[in-house]
Point group: C2
Amino acid sequence: MSGFFDTHKATLDQALEAARSRDYWSPYPEIASGKIYGETAKEDGAKAFKSALGKAFELNGHPADGGTVGSEQSPYGLELGIKYPKASPALLLEASRSAATDWAKASVEDRVGVCLEILDRLNKRSFEMANAVSHTTGQAFMMAFQAGGPHAQDRGLEAVTYAYAEMSRTPASAVWTKPQGKHDPLVLEKRFRVIPRGVALVIGCATFPTWNSYPGLFASLATGNTVIVKPHPGAVLPLAITVSIGRAVLAEAGFDPNVLLLAADEPGSEITKELVADPAVRIIDFTGSNAFGDWVRENAGRDTQVYTEEAGVNSIVVASTDNFRGMCSNIAFSLSLYSGQMCTAPQNIYVPEGGIDTDEGHKDFDAVAEGIKVSVDKLLGDPDRAAGVCGAIASDATLERVEAAAGLGTVLRPSASLENLADARTATPLILKVRDSEGDAHHQERFGPISFIIAVSDAEEGIARAAALASEKGAITASVYATDDATLDRAADAFADAGVSLSCNLTGGVFVNQSAAFSDYHVTGANPAGNAALTDAAFVANRFRIAATRRHKAA
Amino acid sequence: MSGFFDTHKATLDQALEAARSRDYWSPYPEIASGKIYGETAKEDGAKAFKSALGKAFELNGHPADGGTVGSEQSPYGLELGIKYPKASPALLLEASRSAATDWAKASVEDRVGVCLEILDRLNKRSFEMANAVSHTTGQAFMMAFQAGGPHAQDRGLEAVTYAYAEMSRTPASAVWTKPQGKHDPLVLEKRFRVIPRGVALVIGCATFPTWNSYPGLFASLATGNTVIVKPHPGAVLPLAITVSIGRAVLAEAGFDPNVLLLAADEPGSEITKELVADPAVRIIDFTGSNAFGDWVRENAGRDTQVYTEEAGVNSIVVASTDNFRGMCSNIAFSLSLYSGQMCTAPQNIYVPEGGIDTDEGHKDFDAVAEGIKVSVDKLLGDPDRAAGVCGAIASDATLERVEAAAGLGTVLRPSASLENLADARTATPLILKVRDSEGDAHHQERFGPISFIIAVSDAEEGIARAAALASEKGAITASVYATDDATLDRAADAFADAGVSLSCNLTGGVFVNQSAAFSDYHVTGANPAGNAALTDAAFVANRFRIAATRRHKAA
């Protein structure tokens, strides 16, 4: 059996400690530097990506019964032309189930070792992954490197770490000795084994194919389930690379590579629903819309555990600040990063109608709004920087949404395409001002670079409205600016009640969009934006069960 | 604030260690002795029980909007005549929600302290509880004392212990320091708070009102949820006593006693469905039938977490034994205890048609069946002992089921009433023999003192059939007798695959029906007999979420 567990034990131990302390920690460097990843890493990664284009993707003898499938197109304009094995749900489920027995019976250490080795190999191919993520999602290269590579690997490792912690809480065996007064005690020998739920399905999204999929993928894999990865048809390559690495490691460790399968498909002939509805699927990790999330919940089998990250409306409440410029540029970056296509990006900014106190004196509502707008303009004033911050738009639907949204309020800043990315689908932030009489278009998620600066009577009302919206429609992040502790405390209570984590007075190099593995829980699971958190014990503990045997212990 | 946590901290520490080691441990003595519980404890308990009869039950100002309700009748013939506050679901939910804020904001230690104090006071009233449990469920007094008192308290403590372990895994605060090369590090101060899901509903059963309810009740309470206890209309008193003690402790600790409420009702006008379907209810712990379990799952709110223990068919497979007498008397006790009305009681006994090897030589199928029958006769030969083992039958439906079951096979041992309990509803074990041509009446749960000794071609077939039935219909326990490790190992694999824990070669003072807190997981959650285990991390971790705040740390 493989020595992967021993190889990575020190990393796992550090990860267990990081999850407890919740300080910053990562074994996967986020700096895309040749000094760390090897002098030729960048070129090698680009070469590997290019060599995959226009041909059939090699997936270690992956089952297929329909030839090949694939129609990815880069938001930067490149036709990818990659073809993946096309397998029917029936074939995938059959292959998954026949790979299950050995994987279920493997020791916790062997399975966790395989997961850690996969993550390590993924890390080494982070430059290739950056190209794959960038050319499927539209993320700018640096972001694709970080979010698609090391940060996704961090989240995968976090899931493996929690899974290991939960599985190793119960000893493999125990002796139970019950005193019987003057008589001999009753003595039983007990053995406990981790048993998986069955086949796990991971449904990826179009914008963060690795970051959002790795937690479920690795949590299910570590706990002994076989895994079918269903990528978004527009972002298959990053998960195909992942599955390819996973299958290679599984085979090296002596397991059937079909423990990990890819369910590739194309728009118009998706196989997601058929997989979701099959009762053999016992775990589903889903990232996507509330509407499809509802469908998944309603159509998944009776015994299927469903973990979701869905949509929400994230808010910022501006009450006061001692760093007006820092606040405006921090908000501007949050609105611009990946053109607002992050589930953590703020959409609604609540500002008191009467204005706020700042280090630059009192600023009225329009002045606050103008400060944010000017900061966005400044950030995106340099075309190169704008391309590096905004990247491209993942789907036509988002572009159409931006165009349609211009009528939903008073346009403070119009959206525009990026001059340096002529071949790409791009859109800079559209910012709208909304006053009471101007409707409630901001009461639902408008995914993409669309934000609303909303006048409220005071900060209290802003907190109340943002928190109520989070309770009703979901929210993954919330942010507040206030110079007084009383407002911060009230906001902390209100957003905790609404099940949202809160960032306070971010003015520097940390942004409300960012969520750090081992420290920040991503999504609380306590509002409609998702029913699970990345990563806590609840995310892993129900992916396996414990079966025991007991017998009288021989004297 | 209360010092309950400090008072019971040593118990909690021992409990945490017991959950890890899974050795025998209990702080609540199971011996109903005056030396332990006080010389007058038995009389005091009987007196307290009697004084509750025929009047309104005092529940510390419990909300009511419909007068009183209650129609419990002892299976031993006694009319209880106890009246409980009658509250509509709307009133209960309103009271529960308005008690929620302070309870949610209390510290983990304060909540856990309250739970530990409730358990301690419950323990001191174990004799009173024994009377209450016996006269609602029909359990014999000694069993009612143990299962309704200390063993139930153990399970409650176990749930509190797991809840505490999970809640305290995340620190209350952390400092996150991310290096920035030559620049100053990014430093954030983070605070984490446990937030509850909402109102928790605990639906009790008629046979083990405390044992089956305490895990969910205490797990939800400890994690900050308010709890509405919905007892079975036939077994209200044990949970009314529990709620009464809980409300007193809550009030002493400065909380609204409505954190814990009783939803008493009567047959024919049950309020369970209305409570289940209310979206304010976010956690449901249900013990009962598969049919109602399905209803609960289908009608509970979208965001409601449902934990169930439902029905199943428990099996024994007899392959060989080196202690034929021990085996037969162990099985006989398991069939007779509380007249088979335990969710853990065996129903199907698979015996090779060609017989088995034993320490008394080869025994053919009929001889094995006869051995079990004779052991039951012997066990119940003494009328006093029979009454102490079998107790009474909780419901008319069970008695009718026993009568109807006599036609489902060849009667090996007829059921009879207990001569020493003339006023009670009683029935000794009905044992049927079934050969292949005799149908599949044993393929479903026949709750009560009904068992089938089933001829199979060999032990392998017995294991396969028992395991398949467990997968399909659910099972909470399984038992195997075999003198060779190969058979035991095969049985361990087969029942683990079917999600059932397995007892091997029980011939002494441990019975397959018994499940010890802190050591045996009760139910695996991996087959239709239930979706949760008592108690593992999965049972508690999803009853709360974590909400965080983060801000730049002042230098």
